[in-house]
Amino acid sequence: MKKRSIALILLVLMICSLLAGCMKNAEAVNFAGDIDLGEDGVITKEVFSQLRDNGEIASICGNSGEISYKWTVPGTEVTNPQDLCMALTITEKTDGSIEITLKSDKSFGFLPTLSVTLKDKWDALSASVYDADGKKLCAASVTGGDKTTLSFKISADVFSYIIRADEAEPTPEPSNSANLSDGSRTEKDKYGTDPVPVGKPEPVEPDKSNVDTSKKLHCTISIDCATILNNLADLDPAKLDVLPTDGVILNAVTVEFSEGESVFDVLQRVCRENNIHIEATFTPGYNSAYVEGIHNLYEFDCGELSGWMYSVNGWFPNYGCSRYALQDGDVIRWRYTCDLGADVGGSMVA
């Protein structure tokens, strides 16, 4: 009898402590939907107050000629609601750069993310945002298939921006240890990998690669999910809480790695060091880890064609990230796609 009552008390205590630990007054963030900029491009104070009070994220859409744009405004960042003209003038210059001018000269008081969708495809992997004086402000995420979308978070008190494509970084010279494809393999290998394009590295099985911790090399890694900003309506509403409003989870950083390490090794280490959540499972059928989610954004969270993909030096390998042996100077980009890779430049349907 005594034991039973103790067990009961313990159970009740456990329930109470769990309840107390989980009770939060925080409200979940919602997506308010698309708001169209009218003729005058003014969003009223009432709209902003509503976004702020409901803690909603809104997409505010407009267009300048054939170029359309979208502001991603997180209501939680709006501190002082006021009437704001959010219209833009966007022109494509002859040298290929994009000039963006805000019609208003009033500071917003918060820093929304601006996504500009051009009328055709822009041939660049990455781009940078400059102010009128030519000073670099930040990087812009390049997404989209037929029509390129450039996303970046605007800076305080800057009313004119110029976006220029970054000069393509030269692909690092492959070291002698690299096993590049010469096109001799025409069949699938035993893990179902199609022939690797000529000149690209062949997969290296993680259980056969020798990690030489004495040789320290460097690579660059970045993680972004800018494609979600254009597909907010498809995103699982529960994930709006963790969505970075500018779509950048990790800005490009240069990290050290040991010779023989794979893309997955580096990703896992970088995420741990930067306290970024990651979930991956090892898939024996492909002999590689499969990255299910980064920063709590999982595959299928933004439509059924969504998930994480990686590219190295601009190429999306056709094998898993545990089988890609890194070379010195490699540039790794982890990108969230909402369209099987077509919106990040890694479509498998060539």
Binding site: R4, A7, L8, L11, I15, L18, L19, G21, C22, M23, K24, N25, A26, E27, A28, A238, K239, D241, V242, Q268, R272, H277, I278, E279, A280, T281, F282, G293, N296, Y298
Partner: protein, 296 residues
């Protein structure tokens, strides 16, 4: 067992169990789950006694812990990592919390089904569904009858064999296994034979000659109607609170659970009314009994 609720018309009891089990399984809100678990535990105590519930706890509590740990080991979503596994994935607070409440839900449902089995006896089920399909209900009644019937037969065979020193509890381990197998074999032979005799006997009494009727002593009274209306009302209020977003629980990526404003409290009260309906019924009966007794 002295339970007024199980004296209700089968339709009322059935509606109650369907409502309470469905709501428990649908809405993963901690408060609703704990209300449901507490009510189910209380009702099991009334129906089967506190001693039986104590025995149930012995496997229910480890199961609660096991389930939350299991979920956390296989699900790594959530913003609060507690520690990392050797494969690099994190065990998160959210996964633990979700696993815990999922197991609370499962235990509540298990307890409710224990109550269901006591309250909804086979004759009540037959009374409810006998008219829908006579052949299925006959099959059901015969099949349900087999379980206690075989149990009795096995015990009597074993008792008879024990008299000649061949009981299932006599001798060494191997002897006991052999004796038990023998008892089972005798039961099986008997079962085959009895099914043949049952079939012959039914045929000779004209089974299948005409449409069969079923007999039951249950009458649908005002009390049953009130119970069903109460159930429907409670389900409606709770569902309205959940649909309107008043009662809200989310576990991934961060745990967000709605507070106790006016609307959620209303829904929780309605759900509590539903779950504790049997106890309220018993309390009412006890009060009436006391009043009647004191009037003597």
């Amino acid at each position: 067992m002295n339970d007024a609720f199980s004296q209700l018309h089968p339709a009322a009891s059935f509606a109650f169990f369907v409502a309470v089990i469905t709501l428990t399984m649908l809405y993963m809100h901690p408060v609703l789950l704990i209300i449901s678990l507490a009510a189910a535990a209380g009702y099991v105590c009334i129906l089967k006694g506190a001693r039986h519930f104590g025995k149930t706890l012995i496997y229910l509590v480890p199961f609660l812990i096991f389930m939350s740990v299991l979920n956390a080991l296989f699900n790594h979503a959530g913003v609060t990592p507690l520690f990392y596994l050797s494969n690099g994935n994190a065990v998160t607070k959210e996964a633990l919390t979700f696993g815990f409440y999922a197991s609370v839900m499962l235990s509540a449902v298990i307890l409710w089904f224990e109550c269901f089995n006591v309250v909804m006896t086979s004759d009540k089920l037959l009374c409810l569904f006998g008219r829908l399909s006579p052949s299925v209900s006959l099959l059901l009644s015969m099949a349900l009858r087999f379980v206690p019937k075989f149990g009795r037969k096995i015990r009597s065979i074993d008792a008879a064999r024990a008299q000649i020193g061949q009981g299932s509890a006599q001798g060494g381990f191997i002897r006991r296994v052999k004796n038990s197998m023998k008892v089972l074999s005798v039961t099986l032979t008997w079962a085959l034979e009895s099914s043949l005799t049952a079939a012959n006997s039914m045929k000779s009494r004209g089974y299948g000659a005409a449409r069969r009727t079923s007999f039951s002593l249950y009458r649908f009274t005002v009390r049953d109607a009130v119970t069903m209306v109460l159930c429907a009302f409670a389900v409606g209020v709770t569902a309205a609170c959940v649909v309107s977003g008043g009662i809200y629980a989310r576990y991934y990526p961060s745990v967000i659970i709605s507070g106790f404003g006016g609307i959620p409290a209303l829904g929780m009260a309605a759900f509590a009314l539903l779950c504790f309906l049997p106890q309220l019924f018993d309390a009412k009966e006890a009060l009436v009994w006391r009043r009647l007794r004191s009037a003597i």
